[in-house]
């Protein structure tokens, strides 16, 4: 019984593991010509949510999504020349996403444009417990980590706003008019 409890205690954190951005990614800021660094934990998300207007339909939808989130972390680096970063920089993150609870939803490689985009999701019952987007382009590297509970319906409701695409949940949605 004791050993079973110990085993459960050791597995528990793994099951609930959040992705940690490695130091190698953070160091890329020194080489990048432009850096986008967004770190919003649960407290900051709740603060931001208070400033989202209920009267604006777009902001009201975002508010519904934010309610279930525990954090949003974005690191986007733009470089002046190609080859400024090692593609293996993302391997440390990928190794975390091979853990339990995570599954790769999409992996797209464009040899022509040299772009590699991967989308990972953590599934908790019928809810998405987290989303990680890895995007590697010749002169740009982007990591997006969204932690928390997002329902597919709420995510679908954001479709067409703020450049967020429609997620197919069995319902038809109008496509956004502009490509970003």
């Amino acid at each position: 019984m004791k050993y079973a409890l110990l085993l459960l205690a050791s597995i528990g954190p793994l099951l609930a593991q959040d992705v940690k951005l490695p130091a190698s990614i953070e160091k890329l800021a020194n080489k990048a010509s432009e850096v986008v660094d967004v770190s919003l934990d649960g407290q900051m998300l709740r603060l931001a949510g208070r400033f989202l207007s209920n009267k604006d339909p777009d902001e009201a939808r975002v508010r519904n999504v934010v309610n279930g989130l525990r954090g949003i972390y974005v690191r986007s680096f733009e470089f002046e020349k190609e080859g400024e970063y090692e593609p293996s920089s993302l391997e440390e993150i990928r190794s975390q996403l091979r853990g339990p609870g995570w599954s790769r939803l999409v992996g797209v490689i464009s040899k022509k444009g040299g772009e590699h985009t991967e989308v990972y999701m953590k599934l908790d019952d019928d809810h998405i417990g987290g989303v990680v987007i890895l995007s590697a382009e010749p002169k740009q590297l982007t990591v997006v980590d969204i932690m928390g509970t997002i329902s597919l319906d709420d995510l679908s409701a954001l479709g067409g706003h703020f450049g967020i695409p429609d997620v197919e949940t069995g319902k038809e949605h109008k496509q956004p008019a502009t490509k970003e």
């Binding site: 919003l40 931001a48 400033f51 797209v108 464009s110 995007s135 967020i164 695409p165 970003e180």
Partner: protein, 108 residues
Amino acid sequence: MSRLDDALREALRRQDPGPEFTARVLRLAATPPKESWWRALVSGFGPPRLRWATAAALACLLLVSGGLQYRYVAEGRRAKEQLVLALRIAGTKLNQARDRVRQINVGE
């Protein structure tokens, strides 16, 4: 001249105000003056130094709370802008992935 003297003498002659005058004066002297509501409120704070100290403390409190409120609003607006930026970047990358998948499916 004598008529003027007589008139003056008559006017300045001492006259007895009567017993009621004394009682009226003593009654008025015994009644304390009415205090305005402002004086009543301020005097409750004690000596003038304590009143000034209380006023200064209240002013400091107002300044600090105003500053905190300003900082709260500034941080909240910044957090909101960052949230929108983060969702826009996430949406853009998801759009790109979806477009690539569509292109691949169309190509098939």
